[in-house]
Amino acid sequence: MVWINALLQGVLLGGLYALFAAGLSLMFGVMRFVNIAHGDFIVVAAYLMMTSVLIAGVNPFVGIGLVVVIMAAAGYLGQRFLLNRVLGKDILPPILVTFGLSIILQNALLEIFSADSRRVQTGWLETASISLNDVVALGLLPILMFVAALAVLALLQWIFYHTALGRLLRATSDDAEIVPLMGGNNAHIFALATMLASGVVAVAGVLLAMKTNFDPTAGPARLLFAFEAVIIGGLGNIWGTLAGGIVLGVAQTIGAQIDTGYQVLAGHLAFLAVLVLRPRGLFPKTIG
């Protein structure tokens, strides 16, 4: 029974990991952009949530909307006026620049918020749970977070496959060079992709803030989980990303069940196993 409990907790955790992964995968998919500061953006969103709810006293639901809007706007502007400048045939400049950005963000957060670890309280939600029997009890908050993650992924999927913007993003992912021949402005499209990714990052950051303690250095570990979920699931497939997140989440909770110290290690082992056995991920993109 404890194992079933661990499994279910892992699945719920996987939703959050899938959100971590989705933004990373989206930016890489559309413009081959590897964002090393991805985890730090998630943490920035967590601090934004904390600031708006705890300091400015904003209603949590309004807070989520606020963080999404701020992050999305910053994503658009940052891509359009900074990151687009380092985009090119070479994949290295974006890595270097976002690596620098990661260090800057961590230090800025440290300066503003100190090294104390924080958390956004969720009141009665924190303890509410649904008991299936004596051992298996699922927290209401993790369930809601999982549902939120599913909703965000479904929205992304819908945007990608049922809107003109999604069509343009997929075309850009295929062959960015000729998209201008169809009237698309690459700089604008790249910025829109980052805007979408940043919106997802915002939700991920808010959920992180409600789920665990975080501090200014929490980003790189989140980046690692995001990478692992993307690789496990296979690039360029939103539901594959969800599966990747779930596999990683389950591996971690099972590991933690064996020994709390094994949580992160078990996730890495699952990642390595997939890398060795199915290097293209569990659900590789079928076309292209």
């Binding site: 069509r167 343009l168 997929r170 075309a171 992912s173 062959d175 060079e177 169809m182 698309g184």
Partner: protein, 240 residues
Amino acid sequence: MTQPLLEVRGLTAFYGDFQALFEIGFSVAEDETVAIIGANGAGKSTFLRVLTGLHASVGQDIVFSGSQIAGISADRVHKRGIAMVPEGRRLFPSLSVEENLLIGASGGRDGPWTLDAVYDLFPDLTSKRRNPGTALSGGQQQMVAIGRALMSNPKLLLCDEISLGLAPKIIKDIYAAVPRIHDLGTSIVVVEQDVGQALAVADRIYCFQEGRVSLTGTPETLTRADIAKAYFGIDEEEAA
């Protein structure tokens, strides 16, 4: 003579230090179909890429519809009314046939070319509209590439080697579309290595050779010997 739709003077192009085009003069009148012929590496594709803004055109002299378009980005050139069928078709593999067509209309103008009009021009595509573009035969892919360019209702359509790698019967089908496109008010430039095809379809011919215009004229006035010399840079008699 009225003002041409497109007028290019003294155009040059470089890849790094390598000069690919030298002092190209070129024009297309309203309603005209112009063919560019020339051997591999003559600079035909480069020329089209400069016209569309895909290759840097800063400082060139390219007047389209009465205004200077040199140095303008490719997406804005497209909005002015120039569309291109790129070399090698370049369909988007993760998009269906219909999505490939729709994306061509993104920044375009209104006009006679709609999804229905394209399916009417190329009926073969109708049953394939949900298929991925890359699941089609070469000829059908070329039809999608042409349809995609038409969807923006361009004033000028540039076609880069639309017959390349296709069977003669398919080439005939594809070229049958050219007069119909023309009749709906689009001027056309075709780049073609098949000289016979070029002579058959064009009102006027330019021959490129090593980055220069080596010959221009109408199909009626050009002799085979002229073309062979302009194409290969040698006299046919010498070659024989």
